[in-house]
Amino acid sequence: MRKGTIQGLILLVLFSIMLVACAVFRAKDGGVPESHPIPLEMNRPQCTDCHDKTDEAFPYIKFNHDVFYLENHRVPALTGKSTCYMCHQEKFCAECHGGRLELKPSLRKPADVDRRMPHRGDYLARHQIEGRVNPVSCYRCHGNPETAERCVKCHGK
């Protein structure tokens, strides 16, 4: 292993310990209920409309469904899956992340214009530019062959 990598790893662990130390004085989170205690409205929920930003040792601000939430939800979903399940069922995630999906999400849910679905509009043209600028965002979902079936027709196997 490279010397720089080891040093980086040690720094990251020390940084993690420091962050945990910064935060540890607060009370422990008791977990989230199975579903939201009261039904929410059908628009994008803003948790901090009712809850304090980080009250009850819970980062409500992180789950505010602001206008950027769809493109930024990776980290909240990674660290707070049980919170997502309070309102969403697993099939909701599978509409975009299900694996081999023939119908793109914006065609499957044409009435949900407020969700700003990935690949809406003439994305086939735009993806040439966005793919060059940030191929990582494509790779997250299309990194394996079965989710890249559409890509193969032009990009080859």
């Binding site: 490279r2 990598t5 790893l9 993690s16 962050l19 945990v20 910064c22 935060a23 540890v24 422990k28 989170d29 977990g31 199975e34 059908m42 980080t54 601000i61 992180k62 505010n64 602001d66 206008v67 950027f68 980290v75 660290t79 899956k81 049980s82 399940y85 309102c87 069922q89 599978a94 992340h97 299900g98 694996g99 081999r100 999906l101 023939e102 119908l103 065609l107 499957r108 044409p110 009435a111 214009v113 407020d114 809406r120 509009g121 003439d122 086939l124 043209a125 530019i129 793919g131 060059r132 600028v133 940030n134 191929p135 990582v136 299309h142 990194g143 062959p145 079965e146 890249a148 196997k157």
Partner: protein
């Protein structure tokens, strides 16, 4: 179920009891989406074909995903082209997206899942046919582990030979959590893939949230990715700066990757740094947002900046108007475009029934350099959705697209949704 209609038929049979007896058992959530779509496509001989693909999406859930006791979850789709065209490779197709049995011993306690499932924890973000376990091992520590084969059909024989194993040890102290993950993909060419990851999340003083992750490629012994963000509020302004650093040869490595569009990236020494963030402010009925991200390439010394602005207006009856503009400004002339979008959702229209709503979306993009001799593209979608008896929804939608890939593309969809489980299509989609 690729090329295998048996599973599709099984899924339909699963749904039948639900459609006949909506209150079959309050533990069961069964739902169906039937989509009949039509649009025109050219085949290999440039002949126009009117397509009529009919899609069926079926979901069966027994119990909530993280609830105690035995649970079952399955979701899949099937498609049959009702037209006589040969545009689709197979006239019928489909896929079981997930289907697994779960058992959770106590709320928040140990649990096991067996079957086809999506594993999204630590480093792993893939579907497997196998088993996963999650268990608290002390008041603060959680262990999760998974193993199996990538969930692929016989089309991908080389991937079916692979075996994926991984685990994550998490330490949760309420306001902070950190986890260390390990993942290996065996029988992978040219050598087994091995990764180590660290994810972090903490509520810091002044209510600042810090979160992100790093992944280390153990084969090349180099960092593949660092991805971190902060989130905090200043009065009513939500601020979210972010930073990413990706080393292409360590992220797009051959070992884990078989997808052609990215394969060549793993052979470069390129390092991409993404820095920027977004800001949003909301006070009913207005929400305003702005976003800036800079994509800087180390080797080709190139930078691209994407900036965007959003405006949302939401009425008391949830009718909504949104405006969006985006500007991609790259060093290379071909990496520049301007995007404009307006979306609208209207409830309680005078001539429409109370349970119906109308929605529309127009997206216009102009490219700095023509793509297939076209300088711009426009897409418009208009839909009417009607809900009744809290568990049924019918959507009629039409779309139009004109741009580099479509001269004058007109399409239409008829969508029938049945949600026999949650009883509320909006709250639990």
């Amino acid at each position: 179920m690729h090329k295998n209609p048996i599973l599709f038929i099984t899924l339909i049979l699963l749904l039948l009891p639900a459609t006949s007896f909506p209150a079959l058992d309050n533990q069961w959530d069964l739902s169906s989406e039937t989509i009949i779509r039509t649009n025109e496509r050219q085949d290999a001989e440039d002949k126009d074909n009117l397509l009529f693909p009919a899609y069926e999406y079926l979901t069966a859930d027994y119990g909530r995903p993280l609830a105690a006791g035995l649970t079952f979850h399955a979701h899949g789709w099937g498609r049959h082209d009702l037209s006589g065209s040969d545009v689709f490779d197979d006239k019928s197709d489909g896929e079981l997206l997930y289907g697994y049995l779960g058992y959770t011993f106590a709320p928040g306690g140990p649990g096991v899942k067996l079957g086809r499932q999506s594993v999204f924890t630590g480093l792993m973000d893939e579907r497997i046919d196998g088993m996963s376990l999650q268990s608290p091992i002390s008041q603060w520590m959680t262990l999760s582990a998974y193993g199996g084969a990538p969930a692929v059909d016989s089309t991908y024989d080389d991937r079916r030979e692979q075996r994926v194993y991984g685990s994550r040890m998490g330490v949760n102290l309420g306001n902070a959590e950190t986890g260390v993950s390990y993942q290996t993909t065996q029988n992978s060419e040219p050598e087994d893939d091995k990764k180590l990851g660290v994810d972090l999340y903490a509520i810091l003083p002044a209510d600042i949230i810090f979160s992100g992750f790093s992944s280390l490629n153990l084969v090349s012994s180099a960092w593949a990715e660092h991805s971190y963000e902060l989130q905090f509020m200043v009065k009513e302004i939500n601020i979210k700066p972010m930073y990413q650093r990706i080393q292409f040869q360590d992220l797009f490595d051959e070992g884990s990757l078989k997808s052609s569009p990215f394969r060549f990236l793993g052979e470069t020494d390129e390092v991409l740094t993404v820095a920027g963030g977004d800001v949003s402010w909301q006070r009913q009925p207005i929400e305003i947002g702005a976003q800036v991200k800079n994509y800087a390439y180390d080797q080709k010394s190139e930078a691209n900046i994407y900036s965007a602005g959003f405006l949302n207006w939401t009425a008391e009856n949830l009718s909504e108007l949104s405006l969006e503009c985006g500007l991609m400004n790259g060093d290379a002339p071909q990496n520049r475009f301007i995007l404009g979008r307006t979306g609208v959702k209207v409830y309680s229209l005078p001539l429409l029934p109370q349970q119906g709503h109308l929605s529309g979306d127009i997206i216009y993009v102009t490219y700095n350099e023509p793509i297939y001799e076209q300088k711009d593209s426009i897409t418009a979608v208009l839909s009417y959705s009607h809900r009744f008896r809290d568990m049924f929804e019918i959507i009629i939608s039409g779309d139009y697209s004109k741009g580099p890939y479509f001269d004058q593309d007109v399409g239409a969809s008829l969508i029938l949704v049945y949600d026999g489980g949650s009883g509320d299509l909006g709250v639990q989609p």
